[in-house]
């Protein structure tokens, strides 16, 4: 009886010490919601950019952004069954993230100081350069200055037009469109003279069969494609950066880039880009 009693006291002491420590440890700051705590992942992607983010007739998606997204989700612990791709446009990306409709955005989403105020960006996972797409055979446009007075496509929510008109101060005429595929259709039909946006997007369009368009190959900006996360998800952002570093180290990035853009004549970077830092 006496021995049992002592044992109970010792056990109780250990329990009290343990409970005290657990309670003490638990009083730290509560972390903000993170993609790392989710059961399934909804990823916002583009639907109309060949080789970057394209929805096929059967409803599945393909392209560089899709593959990077799948790789990241896999490393974050989500298998194919727990990932869902949904369509976002340049205009809806910010809102979709803010409302929580999507958990991640990989949609040729350039990191800019202005967007950084509303979105936490992992990456960039690639630094693209803005270039110009013209009809094959059109040699009158050789660089961004030649766009002066020409009809240039402007897509709602995309900042590419600003880069030409405001940052470079080139007085191009604007022709509104909802998406870059609409722009390229317009270019082919002759209702506009040039489409200017990131080389990855333009490359996808130019090598599509019978496109009748050519890339000028005169890069004039750096576009940092970021992985959009809900503002404040620093833990998720750090994890994304870690797996992006790994993706470049193990050669997956290079394989993906050559798979999707190997046929195009422009310099593809194969080392990890400079990260923005999670904030």
């Amino acid at each position: 009886m006496r021995g049992l009693r002592h044992a109970v006291v010792v056990i109780a002491a250990v329990l009290v010490a343990g409970a005290g420590l657990v309670a003490y440890r638990a009083t730290g700051d509560a972390a903000t919601a993170s993609i790392l705590d989710k059961d399934r992942l909804t990823i916002g992607v583009k639907t109309d950019q060949p080789r970057v983010g394209l929805r096929k007739p059967d409803g599945t998606y393909e392209g560089f952004d899709i593959d990077v997204a799948t790789y990241l989700a896999g490393r974050l612990g989500f298998d194919a069954k727990h990932i869902r791709f949904v369509a976002v446009t340049s205009d809806t990306r910010d809102e979709a993230l803010k409302r929580g409709d999507v958990d991640l955005v990989l949609a040729t989403y350039s990191i800019t100081p202005r967007r950084k105020e509303r979105v936490t960006f992992g990456g960039p996972y690639y630094v693209a350069h803005q270039d110009i797409l013209v009809r094959t055979g059109d040699t009158s446009i050789r660089n961004v200055s030649d766009l002066k007075g020409r009809r240039l496509c402007r897509v709602r929510g995309s900042e590419s037009w600003q880069r030409v008109r405001v940052e470079r101060g080139v007085a191009a005429k604007q022709v509104w469109a909802e998406s870059y595929s609409e722009c390229v259709t317009g270019l082919r039909k002759g209702s506009l003279d040039a489409v200017s946006t990131d080389d990855l997007i333009l490359a996808g369009f130019s090598i599509a069969e019978g496109s009748g368009t050519t890339m000028v190959n005169a890069p004039f900006t750096n576009e940092k494609y970021g992985v959009g996360l809900k503002k404040g998800d620093l833990k998720g952002c750090l994890a994304v950066n870690r797996y992006l570093t790994e993706m470049y180290q193990n050669g997956v990035a290079e394989t993906l880039l050559t798979t999707w853009f190997g046929a195009v004549d422009f310099a593809v970077a194969t080392t990890v880009p400079q990260f923005e830092g999670c904030a």
Partner: protein
């Protein structure tokens, strides 16, 4: 169940005394384990900032700064001429030549970079991803060296004017600068970000634990005192003794330990906050500003050397400027120059209104909150002067006068040195980094000194209290044997 019920049946007097004594001892155990854990946390957080992750971040930042310096030397020599002095090999005696100062500086900074990389490697040893990055920086460094050598040789073969590089040299230079800006610097930058996140992680949780630990220690100390009081009252009533000196002693020791542990934790939380907010965070922020400032200047030099790519360099120049001092309304470099002048002027005038963000925005807001503005004021003013001068250089270059622009970009007297406006800004940042690093070292040392006696003080005082309690109860229990 019946065993438990029998165990908890406190009907007889000795059983009750034993029960309350057990309660006291349990409270003592809880008090000392929580205090011990809080002390341990304080030590871990101090160690993270002062000895482990903290120095690693500083080391990775040194890699970045040293790499930027190397690149700046190369770019400046190519811009201003002087390849002979660069290529001069002092070990080959057949040709009499003098090795130029920029070359010496390059060699020194290269060694610095290598040393800092190795230090980062040592500290990143249990992180395979980070270690591979460190490795590839070392590999990239030797590739960069080769390209620089080639660019210098091509450039020396053809005589050229100040700022006008022969095409063959431009080609090699582009390859070199590409390795630097697209491979080495990004990796150094990413290592730095990784390290900063690691500090945040190994510092943040322990700190909030230390903070809440104080309340815990006080509450548990009070619990011990209350249970001791219960025991005292019970014994006094039961055995008609007024007071047990041993129990009073236990209460005294408990009070002393509780109060000093609580005040220690408060002090440690203060030291930790100071080491982070007044030391480490500013060190990181200012070093980052310094690194970005260097690559900003290099972008201008590159734009002058390689006008075909000037647009792209202008954009990166603009974005880097925005990282240092963010003006939301500025849409391009021209509007940025104008707005910067205006806003820094307004900030200097009253100092209350910080109308900009970015790294300097954070620094200015913090300085205003603390009422110590002088250091930030002079930095921001120097940054404005630098940008003002750059605007002049850029206007010259855009006007087609590359040689004058290149000359204006450098120091008017020693042309292998960057312009004084850049040097002043850079030196101001460097001085402030050193000052903040002293704050880190000092507070970490003080915090550790305050902690030093506790690893033995805690168990000794815990055992002492337990012994006193048992000594107070033992004679009473003996009466029943």
């Amino acid at each position: 169940m019946s065993v438990l019920r029998r165990l908890l049946r406190f009907r007889t007097v000795p059983r009750r005394v034993q029960g309350v004594t057990a309660l006291v001892l349990l409270a003592v155990v809880a008090l000392f384990s929580v205090t011990g854990a809080a002390v341990w946390d304080a030590r871990a957080a101090l160690r993270a900032i002062g000895h482990n992750e903290g120095p690693m971040v500083v080391a990775t930042n040194d890699v970045y700064l040293a790499l930027s310096d190397m690149d700046a030397q190369v770019t400046n020599v190519l811009l201003t001429g002087g390849e002979e002095g660069w290529l001069c090999d002092t070990e080959q005696v057949e040709e009499a030549c003098t090795r130029s100062l920029p070359r010496y500086f390059y060699d020194i900074r290269r060694e610095d970079a290598q040393r800092a990389v190795l230090q980062a490697a040592r500290l990143a040893q249990d992180d395979p991803v980070g270690l591979r990055t460190v490795q590839s920086v070392l590999d990239g460094l030797s590739q960069y060296d080769q390209r620089v050598q080639a660019a210098m040789e091509r450039s020396a073969e053809t005589p050229h004017t100040f700022g006008g590089l022969p095409p063959a040299a431009v080609k090699e230079y582009r390859a070199a600068t590409r390795i630097m800006t697209e491979d080495l610097l990004p990796k150094a930058n990413n290592l730095m970000l990784d390290g900063a996140a690691a500090v945040e992680e190994s510092y943040g949780d322990p700190l909030s634990n230390v903070r809440s630990g104080r309340a815990w220690v006080l509450a548990l100390g009070l619990t011990v005192l209350v249970t001791l009081g219960l025991l005292q009252v019970y014994i006094a009533r039961r055995f008609r003794r007024i007071i047990s000196l041993f129990l009073v002693g236990a209460a005294l020791v408990t009070t002393v330990v509780t109060v000093s542990a609580a005040s220690l934790l408060a002090t440690e939380a203060d030291y930790l906050r100071m080491a982070k907010d007044d030391g480490f965070d500013p060190v990181l922020r200012l070093s980052r500003t310094r690194a970005i400032g260097k690559s900003l200047d290099a972008d201008r030099t590159r734009a002058l050397l390689d006008p075909a790519d000037a647009d792209r360099y202008d954009q990166t120049y603009f974005e880097k400027s925005q990282t240092i001092l963010y003006i939301r309304q500025a849409t391009n470099l021209e509007s940025y120059y104008t707005m910067l002048n205006d806003r820094v002027g307004r900030y200097g005038a009253d100092g209350q209104q910080v109308t900009f963000k970015g790294l300097y925005g954070v620094a200015a807001a913090e300085a205003a909150a603390r009422g110590r503005r002088e250091s930030v004021d002079s930095l921001v003013a120097r940054f404005r002067d630098y940008q003002e001068h750059d605007r002049h250089v850029r206007t010259l270059a855009r006007g087609g006068d590359r040689q004058t622009a290149a000359e204006a970009h450098m120091d008017p007297r020693w042309r292998y040195l960057p312009h004084p406006t850049f040097r002043e800004h850079d030196a101001g940042l460097g001085a402030l980094v050193d000052r903040r690093q002293l704050v880190v070292d000092h507070t970490v040392r003080s915090g550790e000194r305050a902690l030093r006696p506790w690893p033995w003080l805690l168990p000794v005082s815990g055992l002492a209290i337990a012994a006193l309690v048992v000594a107070g109860v033992w004679p009473r229990l003996a009466e029943y044997r």
